[in-house]
């Protein structure tokens, strides 16, 4: 659905209001949607996702050829891809980059133990072999944070000193707390054909893209209304009515964008007790939390399943434990856990995502009603990410995730993720899920996993929510996405 060529204008600069500042610009080492959103413009991966969330090639010529036993991946690279420093991308760069990813990236580390070999077959072919089959590998390689980005072999220090990627835009200047300035990379070789989600052709209409950190959600709204930002990310849904009918901006609703969750500390503290986790599960009222966080019902769905309707992974297994809002039952469980009613349960949350904070506040009231002493720790997102790594510092933290194409990508499932859900039964299911290549069997495995999740309550899924953003009516060619990207977008004069 490419708009008529005539209307596509080359040139222009857009300001994108993002929700905060980034601690680092290395999407391999760190995770986070914000990081992925920004860096995907200048760092690219071998694969990416299309509109239907299927893995599709990006720097790779085509999808990998997988051996019948599912253990050997042969990846053919595109020819003529150059880095921002002018050098050509070769298999050598890819191998080095993938090694870096396997060592440093949280998602890479999932694969690392399973790795049997990684080598360049020729200048444009890379072969990766596994000890055991691993179904989600291609999806992992397609991800934009904790991402397997391809860097020039000589320029991959940790931390990164230079930001040399292959993307359609390149980093020109970064002023902390002020802006990240990207300019068009003229040596970019787009894929043939039409754009398709993150895949397909990436067109470079805009001269410049500026990501401006605007941590205050309200300022993002006001800035959008005033026309200062061409795109404003993740706005409070309450602003929808205000954005409607403005001449300098328009609301952009992304239905079933993702799901907020309360992650419990399974490693240290009170929440390691199953009864406590079950108590939280029993106490929370998802309706209220969602209503408080997202306002009108059209912005959220009260749903306990890990995938919304329409996804092949959808199942209701275990969800009878969801959205109970039953303080009495919770109290009993709390009592059973031997909790003294005094030891503070620390809920770590951030205001950068205002809905996290609001859900935290509602949850706090429900949990108090269940007899827990709640201590809300409100920090900025960067701090939260830092702190959650230390099991001594928190009991519950709040985060959210988009609906990911493969359950293997769901961040909190592996035991390495802060929360440390480390359960032999789960590990077994997860390994099986990853190793299984048959889709039907995988769905069955996932159903068991979801049921186990509700039994063990390592985390609490709050529901599904829609995301609100705003964009200038002049900004065309933009496709709504959980990680907004601005290649293919252009400004109407």
């Amino acid at each position: 659905a490419t708009p008529p060529t005539l209307a596509q204008e080359r040139g222009g600069v857009i300001n994108v209001a993002m929700i905060g500042e980034l601690a680092s610009l290395d999407p391999t080492v760190a995770t986070g949607d914000l990081l992925g959103t920004v860096t995907q413009h200048f760092f690219e991966t071998l694969f990416t996702f299309d509109k239907e969330w299927n893995v599709t090639p990006l720097l790779a010529e085509k999808l990998p050829e997988v051996s019948a036993d599912g253990r050997v991946y042969t990846i053919t690279l595109r020819k003529g891809v150059t880095f921002h420093d002018g050098s050509a991308m070769t298999a050598k760069d890819v191998v080095a980059s993938l090694h870096r990813w396997l060592e440093l990236a949280a998602r890479g580390k999932l694969v690392q133990p399973n790795l049997a070999g990684l080598e360049a077959v020729d200048d444009h072919t890379v072969r990766l072999s596994l000890k055991e089959p691993f179904a989600p590998l291609a999806a992992l390689l397609a991800f934009n944070n904790s991402a397997a980005i391809i860097l020039p072999a000589g320029k991959m220090d940790n931390p990164l000193k230079e930001y040399v990627g292959t993307g359609p835009y390149m980093l020109k200047e970064r002023k902390a707390d002020q802006y990240i300035q990207l300019v068009r990379f003229d040596g970019y070789q787009a894929r043939e054909g039409d754009p398709n989600g993150f895949g397909g052709a990436r067109k470079q209409y805009l001269d410049e893209i500026r990501f401006v950190p605007v941590p205050d959600a309200n300022t993002r709204v006001e800035g959008a209304i005033a026309g200062q930002y061409d795109y404003a990310d993740l706005l409070p849904v309450e602003a929808y009515d205000r954005l409607n009918g403005q001449d300098k901006t328009e609301p952009l609703l992304l239905k079933s964008f993702g799901w907020p969750m309360f992650i419990m500390n399974n490693k240290q503290g009170m929440m390691t007790k199953l009864e406590m986790r079950k108590a939280v599960q029993a106490a929370l009222n998802a309706d209220d939390m969602l209503a408080a966080a997202f306002g009108k019902p059209e912005f959220y769905t009260v749903d306990g399943a890990l995938y919304p309707e329409g996804y092949p992974w959808r199942t209701d297994a275990g969800t009878e434990a969801y959205n109970l809002g039953d303080p009495e039952k919770a109290k009993e469980l709390v009592k059973a856990a031997g909790y003294d009613g005094k030891q503070p349960i620390r809920i770590l949350t951030s205001r950068q995502y205002e809905f996290h904070y609001k859900m935290a506040q509602v949850a706090a009231e429900y949990l108090k009603a269940a007899g827990l002493a709640i201590e809300l720790q409100v920090v900025d997102w960067a701090t939260l990410v830092q702190r959650r790594a230390d099991p001594a510092l928190w009991d519950i933290f709040i985060t959210h995730s988009p609906f990911l194409p493969d359950p293997a990508l769901i961040a909190p499932l592996p035991a390495t993720y802060p929360g440390w859900w480390d359960n032999p039964e789960k590990e077994k299911l997860l390994v099986a899920l990853n190793a299984e290549l048959d889709q039907n069997k995988r769905v069955a495995l996932f159903t068991d996993l979801q049921k186990l999740l509700y039994d063990q309550a390592p985390l609490y899924k709050v529901g599904d929510f829609s995301a609100l953003s705003a964009k200038s009516p002049k900004l065309k060619g933009y496709e709504a996405s959980p990680w907004p990207y601005f290649w293919n977008a252009y400004l109407e004069k």
């Binding site: 002023k175 902390a176 941590p215 205050d216 300022t219 830092q386 230390d390 510092l393």
Partner: protein
């Protein structure tokens, strides 16, 4: 005069030294190991031990203090934890908006406060005077962040006269950047004009009762000249002090205002640093801002030389 300058200079250095000491103490009263706090929870014990050694935290307090002084003299304020750059650079990069914001606020505040204060003192007891006094007190009661919110709503969102937030992009011209400062400067300026107005009024009242003002009148001089030439110039001396003080206080207002207007200035940096537990940045900002305050005061002391012959002597 040299004596005066020397005296002030020594005084300034003494205060500076105490400021440094206080900052040193503030950082030490933070509970827990400063190195651990500085490095954040991700740090390994080895990292922490290394930093402790680098900062000399394993040394006795006196040695630590001397080390801290030594680093300062070298102009080293440490390394930001979050921003991955030296604190000095982080501060320098953010100096411009804060500097101009402060400057404009002071100009706005003075432009309002001086004439109004003078007139209100001159017409003391009248309705005008009462109105001014009440208004000044009212203005001083408005939280600057609240006023900022109101100004954004009215002038940026509804009327669209000024940008809502930020400090312009990479190629923003100086003028564009300044246009970002108008609303915050007004928000700060109005609030601080209250203080200056009241002070100008009080100072003028003092001076207007002085004998030499009566002498000037007894010469047959017109009122305007009496007030401007004989009263205002004399009243200016304490007023200048307050303007200087306000300039420094504005930095504190800037902390709030910059946050409201998302201005990438020192104030914003401090708030983010607190939220990110970036202690070296907090420490550095405290030091630099206090130093600026001390310098401004010193500058005003030096200005006195121009205005007041008594100190020249």
């Amino acid at each position: 005069m040299t004596r005066y300058i020397l005296q002030r200079l020594l005084g300034m250095l003494a205060v500076m030294f105490t400021v440094v000491t206080i900052v040193f103490i503030i950082v030490r009263i933070a509970p827990g190991d400063p190195a651990a706090v500085m490095l954040g929870p991700d740090a390994t014990p080895a990292d922490i031990a290394a930093l402790r050694a680098r900062l000399g935290l394993d040394q006795p307090l006196v040695v630590q203090y001397l080390f801290f002084l030594g680093q300062l003299i070298k102009g080293d304020l440490g390394q930001s934890i979050f921003l991955d750059m030296p604190v000095t650079r982080a501060l320098a990069e953010r100096a411009e908006p804060t500097f101009f914001l402060t400057l404009f606020s002071i100009l706005i505040a003075s432009a309002i406060a001086l004439p109004v204060g003078i007139l209100s003192a001159y017409k003391r007891g009248t309705l005008f005077d009462q109105a001014v006094t009440t208004f000044a007190m009212f203005a001083a009661s408005i939280p600057s962040f609240w006023l900022g919110l109101v100004l954004i709503q009215v002038f940026a969102v509804r009327l669209g006269w000024f940008p809502v937030a930020g400090y312009g992009g990479p190629d923003a011209s100086f003028l564009t950047r300044l246009s970002h400062l108008v609303l915050p400067a007004v928000a700060l300026g109005v609030v601080s004009s209250a203080l200056i107005t009241r002070f100008t009024r009080a100072s003028m009242l003092d001076v207007l009762n002085d004998d030499y003002v009566r002498t000037a009148r007894s010469k047959g001089m017109g009122e305007f000249r009496v007030v401007m030439r004989h009263a205002f110039k004399n009243a200016l001396i304490p007023v200048l002090t307050v303007i200087g003080l306000t300039a420094a206080l504005l930095v504190s207002g800037a902390v709030v205002t910059e946050t409201v207007f998302s201005l990438p200035g020192v104030g914003n940096l401090v708030v983010s640093a607190v939220l990110r537990r970036d202690y070296p940045v907090i420490q550095g900002a405290l030091l630099v801002i206090a130093a600026i305050y001390v310098l401004i005061n010193f500058g005003i002391d030096m200005l006195y030389i121009l205005i007041d012959p008594r100190v020249r002597y």
